[in-house]
Amino acid sequence: MSVHILARPVAAPADLEQLGTLVAEPESAVADPPLPVPPASLVLLVVLSPSTPKEPGK
């Protein structure tokens, strides 16, 4: 015989409230937009690039 025929638990009011919370799932909190991440090669290029030339001394 099936289990669901043998036992039919009657939920407590607190269980009904919890089920209601799951059914009426609220919208999620605002997520941050994706931040721009420079590619690693660009970072390396900036690090290894020669320093800014200076104007000859006056």
Partner: protein
């Protein structure tokens, strides 16, 4: 009832429905219930899962037009025995529950030819005024299981009568990157499109955009599977 067990069982059940929609055979609702090892504690969570997934447990019979076994149709009954339906909703959450229950009870009645179930109070009470479309669309998302092929009823009429509010709410959830809510609203947008409502939003790229970002939660994937079926890209 353990909430986390109920949510986990609901995900499992939704995964079974999703697999059935993809052609793996039947959902095996009665087997899902019988698979419950502990007939006291865990059964409450399993029956809660059936109520949580709601009308979607019978989706393959609606979408694929497969026959509904009497044993599977009866699965909904013990879930209502265990968790009595809300008859006089007071809070917003209870009103959502009442309409969710109504769509859950109505679908097997429609499939088996039984008399229709009693309709809850005015749907405007659960959705609120459409001019407050950001709040309105969240309530619409919470009732996404009511949007299935061939669905009718007061909530369906109320949602499809407000295409601008629906699309504004959907775009807002996408911009907020709340893709769980967006998947539920995309289902409604696809439903409105399938019923011939003119929309200021193309549902096909919407469904694809949300589908690429929604993650792996089976209930949300189920919403998108229904949306894809409704717009004909399944």
């Amino acid at each position: 009832m353990d909430v986390s067990s109920c949510a986990r069982d609901a995900a499992d059940l939704a995964g079974r429905v999703l697999a059935a929609l993809r052609g793996s055979g039947g959902v095996g609702l009665a087997d899902f219930l019988d698979s419950c090892a502990d007939p006291t504690a865990a059964l409450g969570a399993v029956l809660g899962a059936v109520r949580l997934v709601g009308a979607d447990v019978l989706l393959p019979h609606v979408v694929l037009d497969s026959p509904l076994a009497a044993r599977d149709a009866e699965v909904v009954v013990p879930s209502f025995d265990a968790f009595p339906p809300v008859t006089e909703p007071v809070s917003a959450r209870q009103r959502v529950m009442a309409w969710h229950d109504w769509s859950t009870a109505r679908l097997p009645a429609r499939l088996t030819g039984e008399p229709p179930v009693t309709t809850p109070a005015d749907p405007d009470a659960v959705l609120g005024p459409a001019r407050e479309w950001s709040r309105w669309s969240v309530a619409v998302a919470q009732l996404s299981s009511a949007a299935h092929p061939g669905a009718t009823g007061p909530v369906v009429d109320a949602v499809t009568a407000q295409p601008l509010a629906l699309c504004r709410g959907t775009v807002r959830t996408v911009l907020r990157r709340d893709f769980g809510t967006a998947s539920r609203l995309a289902r409604w947008v696809a439903f409105a499109h399938a019923t011939g409502v003119r929309l200021p939003l193309d549902p096909v790229p919407l469904v694809e955009h949300v589908g690429a970002r929604v993650g792996a939660e089976p209930r949300r994937l189920l919403d998108l599977a229904v949306a894809r079926h409704l717009v004909g890209v399944a």
